[in-house]
């Protein structure tokens, strides 16, 4: 990729200017180290990641860490499964049948109780930093596993807001589809434009770019060119149909059920099947400060069937072993109920569910006390086997054999894909 090479040169020449840029970080979005995929062979059978991200902070007490009959509990029944400790809320009719294919972590724990900060942390494994933008899980996977010449984007995000790849550069940004299944805007040529006219437009652009680069330097031109090459490839690719559901058989669509989340899950499977390494599917609405029991029941109704169908479908196609499926949100919710049957933000303990490639499923990690707290009355931590977001990233990185010891460069400072202080949670895969 010429882009990154030129960026690297850009940085090199900048660095050559000595202390000039040492006090600033205005290259916060650039990266050095393009030699990534040349020699290295990854030692992992996981080739895809699907992140099911629950925006708003899904309540652990209404999903996977119920406290029935207790003052903090929801008025839900729980479904006992063959896996001890895996007893989801009664509305998880389908997921309850898949206990053998899942691993539940009840002891996710962080200190970020603000939506945007916590979302950043759970999406990247780092707390937000005003001067450095970290890539999200999908961008990391796209950069580590993605083929830069692949016609489809290496990271597709279904719904939700765009989250740029930060120091990993524009080529690893998510391609966001805001209305999954609907016609993607601007993917087709404008009315009256055919291949020939598009070609001549691009030929003229190329000529103009050459002159501009000569006079005004090539950094901007190279980045611009990379963006257009990728766009053109996508526009002309027959694989585009994978973004849509038209040729998906009815019985499969029925299995996933209805709704935007269900459609997104089918598209996620279609993309993974085609070779897209990273897909993120968002389901929002979990910020249940009020009326939590009804709202969570409704949300689980949207979630349960598509998620279970996704697992079944991937298994049938022999893809579950090579696809890591992660379910999580930015934090959990307070055990103490509000006066309006809702719960506040609670990062101290919350749930994440992993399944698929490399995961040692049919087990539960972590435990909260009988009321769902992570601390006792003396404020001592009682949470069993706490897992921090950074630990989770480190573990996923280990399972997928990311280049975690490699120093990437963002501006003038070294950065690592995963926090160096984080620890591996071996239980997840051993």
């Amino acid at each position: 990729m010429t882009t990154s090479l030129s960026r690297r040169d850009f940085l090199r020449t900048s660095a050559a200017a000595g202390g000039v840029i040492a006090t600033s970080s205005f290259f916060s979005h650039t990266i050095r180290g393009e030699d990534k995929k040349t020699a290295r062979v990854r030692n992992s059978k996981i080739n895809h990641v699907i992140l099911l991200f629950m925006e708003g902070g899904p309540s652990q007490l209404e999903t996977f860490d119920l406290k029935p009959g207790k003052e903090t509990g929801a008025p839900y029944k729980q479904i006992e499964t063959e896996v001890p400790g895996f007893a989801p809320a009664e509305h998880f009719k389908e997921i309850a049948k898949r206990a053998e294919d899942l691993l539940l972590i009840k002891s996710m724990s962080s200190r970020e109780g603000n939506h945007s900060r916590a979302s950043y942390l759970l999406r990247t494994g780092y707390i937000p930093n005003p001067t450095l933008k970290h890539p999200s899980l999908g961008s990391i996977v796209a950069q580590q596993l993605g083929d830069p010449t692949f016609e489809l984007p290496n990271f597709v995000k279904l719904r939700g807001s765009p989250f740029p790849a930060g120091y990993l550069g524009v080529e690893n940004n998510p391609f966001v589809i805001s209305r999954p299944g609907a016609k993607i805007e601007n993917l087709d040529y404008a009315a009256g434009v055919d291949q020939e006219r598009m070609d001549r437009r691009m030929k003229l652009v190329k000529e103009m770019e050459r002159d501009f680069a000569k006079e005004r330097g090539d950094e901007a031109v190279e980045a611009h060119k990379a963006m257009y090459e990728k766009a053109r490839k996508l526009m002309d690719s027959p694989l585009r149909k994978k973004f849509y559901l038209e040729d998906e058989p009815d019985e499969i669509r029925k299995e996933y059920g209805e709704g935007a989340f269900a459609d997104s899950c089918i598209i996620a499977r279609r993309l993974v099947e085609t070779g897209v390494p990273a897909v993120e599917v968002t389901l929002g609405g979990w910020d249940t400060h009020d009326d939590g029991f009804n709202r969570c029941q409704n949300l689980i109704g949207q979630l349960d069937r598509p998620w279970a169908a996704l697992i079944n479908d991937l298994k049938r196609r022999g893809l579950y072993d090579s696809t890591l499926v992660v379910w999580m949100g930015e934090f959990g919710r307070t055990p103490k109920l509000t006066g309006t049957q809702g719960r506040g933000h609670w990062p101290g303990n919350f749930c994440a569910v992993l399944g698929g490639g490399g995961v040692k499923t049919a087990q539960v990690i972590g435990e909260t006390d009988e009321l769902g707290y992570n601390r006792d009355s003396k404020n001592q931590n009682t949470l069993k086997d706490p897992v921090s977001p950074a630990d989770l990233y480190k573990t996923i990185g280990t399972m997928m054999d990311w280049e975690m010891s490699k120093e990437f460069e963002a501006g003038n400072r070294p950065v690592w894909l995963v926090d160096k202080e984080a620890k591996n949670v071996e239980k997840i895969y051993k």
Partner: protein
């Protein structure tokens, strides 16, 4: 633009502070005396500050053995100034009026007066107020704020920039406002925070003071002397900064509530998030003298916007240095901290004082920066300044912001200019005449497109409210797809524009020239003409050829950047 009125005093004061200017140290004492004697009144004439900056950096560059790039030509300057001040490239008519490369413009300004006159014209245009309102709405409350907050705040900012209201007054209004949106649209600022005082203080302090104390919300600041108590002390000023709404539909207004005038010490004691009782406290633990007869937010706003507030005046200067030159004295632009020292602290200090002395006159500061050589250099570099990221020896290629791209696309394709509609009466739709109905349909289409394009740009760039920084040329496929395939570039919109151009110009070369001026904001060079000749030779005839040229130019780096 070197003028004959040297600003030696400033130069002298500034020179003292630089180790690099070692040879001046010998004259340090002498210069100090001279400085005292001749120190001109600050804040009076922006051209003096501009000249002072030009001269000072000439000296610094000479000391560092860096040869600056040449000053840019008129075409380059014209487009740069338009994009920076009104958010779009110049129209062909405006290019002709400026008359690039010739001695005199259409307004009778000659030679060295042409550029300052252009800057003045643009600063006074309604489009400038609109562009700065867009820009400041994004800087303050961000692209993702709710629609009503954005609408009201924009309205306030646009009116205020149009009147050139002092910056200190604008910030005072936004922070201290009491009342409702019918009379005080600036309530939009506070209401965007949805009653979260911790967000109000985080953004207010970062955007207007350059102090990023938000980290101290959850833990003591890692490398600054901020503790959680400092954060809470600042946050306490916003305890009464709640906003609410009343009425429905068209009658709905938003207002600030709970503001209590401090009558005695007890009124200032607030129960804060940390469940402690505390008094408000300014950043840096400057003690807050309880002011009776004012609300807490009024006291805070007064402290913030005082001519003596170094944070406020230096943040203002740094913001505009970064905006106009691609790089401020402090980078990131709004992160002043002890590990992030300004590149030229003394220059920043003096410019800050100057800005305050001008009465926080934003246009004064902008005139000073834009009239200086620092702003008017070429992008093209030489061997000595290729790697200069400190001394402003060259201009940088700056990526347009989503707001600039948005405005540029709409303008270039001409959906407002070329699909003009008659004024429509403000009456219920069933009372409109058929002609008015037809006009309204076009207008709705135009407005729909405006909103739609903006939304697309938001997706393409993400919702990051920060100003883009140098070296960041990232765009996404989404942006490319839009500029290649948008319906805006098809029948009804672009085709109308092309038909118009072809109608006005019979000759092929004139049409090419008009398209260059429309899209790129400059006349084609001989080299461009040669390229067009070569590439377009086999394209055949008809207006489609010009559509292709038009769209191709819109997809160049030249279009997507300011340079």
């Amino acid at each position: 633009m070197l003028r004959r009125s040297p600003f030696l005093a400033l130069l002298a004061v500034v020179s003292l502070t630089f180790g690099v200017l070692s040879q001046y140290d010998v004259f340090a004492d002498e210069k100090k005396t001279e400085a005292k004697k001749d120190e001109p009144a600050l804040g009076q004439d922006p051209h003096k500050l501009a000249d002072g900056l030009s001269k000072l950096f000439d000296q610094l560059l000479a000391e560092s053995k860096i040869k600056p790039s040449k000053l840019c030509d008129d075409d380059t300057f014209l487009r740069r100034a338009y994009l920076d001040l009104v958010g779009r490239p110049p129209l062909p008519r405006e290019i002709d009026e400026f008359n690039p490369g010739s001695r005199k413009d259409a307004f009778g300004n000659k030679g060295d007066d042409k550029r300052p006159a252009l800057i003045d014209r643009l600063l006074e245009s309604p489009e400038h107020a609109r562009h700065f309102a867009d820009m400041w709405t994004v800087i303050t409350i961000g692209r993702d704020a709710d629609g009503n907050s954005k609408r009201f705040l924009r309205q306030y900012l646009e009116t205020s920039f149009a009147q050139n209201k002092p910056w200190s007054e604008m910030v005072y209004d936004m922070v201290a406002v009491i009342g409702d949106t019918t009379e005080h649209p600036e309530v939009g600022y506070l209401m965007s925070f949805e009653n979260k005082p911790q967000d109000m203080v985080g953004i207010t302090s970062k955007v207007f003071l350059g102090k990023q104390i938000q980290c101290a919300e959850c833990h003591d600041h890692p490398y600054e002397d901020f503790t959680q108590n400092d954060f809470r002390g600042m946050q306490a000023f916003f305890t009464h900064g709640r906003t609410g709404a009343r009425g429905d539909g068209a009658n709905r207004v938003w207002y600030t509530r709970g503001d209590k005038v401090v009558k005695d010490k007890h009124d200032a004691l607030v129960h804060n998030v940390g469940k402690q009782w505390l008094y408000p406290q300014f950043i840096g633990r400057e003690s807050y003298e309880l002011t009776l007869g004012k609300t807490l937010r009024q006291s805070l706003a007064e402290w913030m916007t005082s001519p003596d507030n170094t944070y406020f005046r230096e943040m203002g200067v740094n913001r505009y240095m970064a905006y106009f030159l691609g790089m401020g004295f402090v980078t990131p632009v709004d992160d002043f901290n002890s590990l992030n020292e300004p590149s030229f602290p003394k220059v920043l200090e003096i410019m800050g004082k100057d800005f305050a002395a001008s009465g926080y006159d934003t246009r004064y500061l902008i005139r000073a920066i834009m009239n200086s050589d620092l702003y008017q250099r070429e992008v093209d570099t030489n061997r000595t300044n290729r790697n200069d990221f400190k001394y402003y020896s060259r201009a940088y290629v700056r990526k347009l912001t989503p707001e600039q791209i948005h405005r540029s696309i709409l303008h270039v394709v001409g959906i407002e200019r070329l699909n003009q509609v008659e004024p429509i009466r403000d009456v219920p739709e069933n009372q409109l005449t058929p002609e008015e109905k037809a006009s309204k349909k076009i207008l709705d289409g135009v407005n729909g497109w405006k909103g739609h394009i903006y939304n697309q740009m938001r997706i393409a760039y993400g919702a990051e409210p920060d100003m883009r920084e140098l070296g960041d040329y990232d765009g996404t496929i989404v942006q490319a797809l839009m500029l290649l395939n948008s319906h805006l570039l098809g029948p009804g919109w672009l085709t109308n524009s092309i038909d118009k151009i072809c109608e006005e110009h019979a000759n092929h070369n004139d049409r090419v020239r008009a398209i260059f001026m429309t899209v790129l904001g400059r006349r084609p060079t001989a080299r461009d003409a040669a390229i067009m000749g070569g590439v377009m030779a086999n394209w055949g005839g008809g207006n489609a050829v010009y559509e292709d040229l038009f769209v191709a130019l819109m997809n160049t780096t030249e279009f997507a950047t300011n340079h």
